[in-house]
Subunit: 435 residues, 2 copies
């Protein structure tokens, strides 16, 4: 008997009919002889509706109360899902984050999981029931208060339960067929990826692929959880996100075997992601003396902004000055500009430039580690398409480039084709994504 | 410093504007130097909307899951109310039934309170905060499951908190100005009652007055809680429901003084209530031998039906047969008829008559205990208006009569006037009632 954790996003449980459809799928999984734990998001847009209500009451809702409010959403969907399953003749019990033992720190709105004690979930399974757990929510032991996990919280709930219960697989149901070599809305010939390593998946997620949240992938990687990203609208196999071969074979021999085989089968490139949510700040005329970069990024770090790419120009010997550019989410732009301007005299730079018309393209694949030609092929493809590269950054399994925002989609199609990722026919695309 | 528990029904928190209005009222109570605990119902029709959703998923929702679902309603209203108060610069914290220590038995949908341990509520008050508690919901220690208290549950939550916290008063906010001598929608000249004893209030509630639920009044009476029923739409004084003078004067001298004075000030009649929700069953031709009535009502009791009035005709000596009539909620009618029919041979009655076109009128007042003329005055008023009386039942502080359904509203107006209850002008009526 396998233990399967399934996660259903908001678009999969948007109304009563969808809930019944999902219930049927869960019952089929149970009937096939598996133990089933489900993490479920709030119905459709209901979280946004609750947020609207909060903002009608006050422009800045108290975080503790906002968490209390928002967790009502999953309470509704999980109870409806459990009663739907019961009406089909199978035992099912819903559990809040607190009942399921999702213990977090006290940071309302973005709590981190500190412990998972799913005793009641395990008991329900032992009694033959299907356990339905509210996604996105947790509980702080110190304050006794309800917390929420922030963006992608339901994915994290599912993965954390899978890890704590030692599940065989964690299935992430969504409204697309899996992870694609590129966003099928931008590249119709994008191919579904059958298998991808968690480190490649991390790079794709960090570079704009929106199907899986980076946090859930990190959690899965750290705890050796195998993910299966698939559609709740059909029965197709989706994408398996497997872990590095350091998984203990004794714990899960089948999984370990798959992992050890994977590097051989692996294609050179897993996929290409693009991101239009970032801006570029250039600090112009920085004195080229030791410690200046550290000083600048200490100022930036104090704002809490997430820096992505950093490029420092070669210093012009004649002036003794250099330029430092970095990318960051547009939403962090203003606070970083303000912080740097306040310290301009101390740092001694000449000016700041802000550019929010950039696009980022990231090519991801474990295969590129040992293949020196990947960069050359990428730059050639972009050059031949007349697309200018403004910044470059590389990791062992990723190359990112920054271009003008209005050329990044062209760049995506050109690169996707150049690396032989195009499928023979167009992918099918559904709309929307869940929480 | 007084401790005041306030309860707001669904119509008082129907939308964001109403919530802000209620928040302002709560803040004013706090500013006046009181400690404030609030029990709140779900917003407007949201409980019905959740029920609709459940019935879209399954015709018979599992009770545990239905409770999990419905409790989302108060979670939403209490969080919004707390954040609204906080936005006005006062500390406020919302608590679920479980967090507030509302411990119940495990009967989902109609749980009874077995203990109230409001430690977190008391702590919040001690730290100067206003405590907002979800009405209608509780928690069973044995199963660890969420429960709901059934109809009028939020009133019960408020009264139970008032009792456990030894509150000075429990204010029940509603959309009418208080308890009236009759329903103002039926008798425009009905007068607001300033003070009424809890036993009179019990009789009125049991006989169709819908402003307060009988269960909350019973709880208040048993625990010596003074109720103040008033409108959330104005600042008028409402109706004080006081307890019998057996309240310990040492515990609450002011309350005890009021109570000991009250019987003197009390008017003869507190009010008149009518009820169209009952039906009458007559068991025709019952052998007039000992034990037959017991046999019949044992059969009825097994169906779980709530019997109200019972009348047994004087036996006709010639036949040795008698008729027994009783009233009960129309919703219980079918099951009782079925149960009695099944035992007809054993009991030996001749036939059953079912009549759902009856109306009940109840005249309530502690003053009638010592006033023999009340019955005569009641019967005379009805006779002069040409209204036929079909059944009569009396208690120490109540006289009930059954008439045809289509004459009961006329009866109400006639009796209201005959006992001098009419005001000099019409009462103002708002629509709807909360949970």
């Amino acid at each position: 008997m396998s233990l399967i954790v399934q996660k259903y996003g908001g678009s999969s449980v948007a109304d009563a009919e969808s809930i019944k459809r999902v219930a049927k799928r869960i019952v089929e999984t149970r009937k096939a002889g598996n133990e089933v734990v489900v993490a479920v998001s709030a119905m459709g847009d209901s979280t946004d509706e609750l947020l609207d209500l909060a903002h009608q009451v006050t422009p800045i809702p108290a975080p503790r109360e906002l968490d209390m409010l928002l967790t009502a959403g999953e309470r509704i969907s999980m109870a409806l899902l459990a009663m739907s399953i019961r009406s089909m003749g199978h035992d099912a019990r819903s559990f809040t984050g607190s009942q399921a033992g999702m213990i977090t720190d006290a940071r309302h709105g973005q709590a981190r999981i500190v412990d998972v004690t799913p005793g009641r979930v395990r008991d329900a399974l032992d009694e033959g029931a299907i356990a339905i757990v509210a996604g996105f929510q947790g509980f702080n032991r110190g304050t006794g208060d309800i917390t929420t996990l922030g963006r992608g919280g339901s994915d994290t709930t599912a993965v954390a339960l899978a890890a704590a219960l030692n599940a065989d697989v964690c299935e992430i149901y969504t409204d697309v067929d899996g992870i694609f070599t590129a966003d099928p809305r931008l590249v119709p010939r994008a191919k579904k990826i059958d298998r991808i390593s968690s480190e490649e998946m991390l790079e794709l997620a960090a570079n704009g692929a929106k199907v899986l949240y980076i946090r859930a992938v990190e959690y899965a990687r750290r705890h050796g959880v195998t993910l299966h990203v698939r559609s709740s609208f059909n029965n197709n196999e989706g994408t398996i996100v497997y872990n590095a071969p350091d998984v203990d074979p004794a714990r899960d021999p089948e999984n370990a075997r798959e992992n050890s085989e994977s590097p051989v089968e692996e294609p050179l490139i897993a996929g290409v992601a693009t991101d239009l949510s970032e801006a570029k700040i250039t600090v112009v005329g920085v004195p080229d003396i030791p410690g200046k970069a550290a000083q600048i990024f200490n100022i930036v770090a104090k704002t809490g902004a997430n820096i992505d790419m950093i490029v420092q120009n070669v210093s012009a010997a004649s002036t003794g000055l250099t330029d430092i550019s970095f990318t960051l989410p547009k939403s962090d732009g203003q606070s970083v500009l303000t912080a740097l301007t306040a310290e301009q005299g101390d740092v001694g730079f000449k000016a700041l430039q802000y550019d929010d018309q950039i696009g980022k393209l990231a090519l991801v694949g474990a295969g590129m580690r040992t293949n020196a030609g990947v960069s050359a092929k990428l730059f050639t493809a972009l050059y031949e398409a007349g697309i200018n590269i403004e910044m470059i950054s590389t990791s062992e399994i990723r190359i990112s480039v920054v271009t003008r925002a209005d050329t990044v989609n062209d760049a995506l199609r050109v690169v996707h084709a150049a690396f032989g990722l195009d499928a023979e026919s167009d992918a099918i695309v559904h709309g929307g994504t869940g929480r």
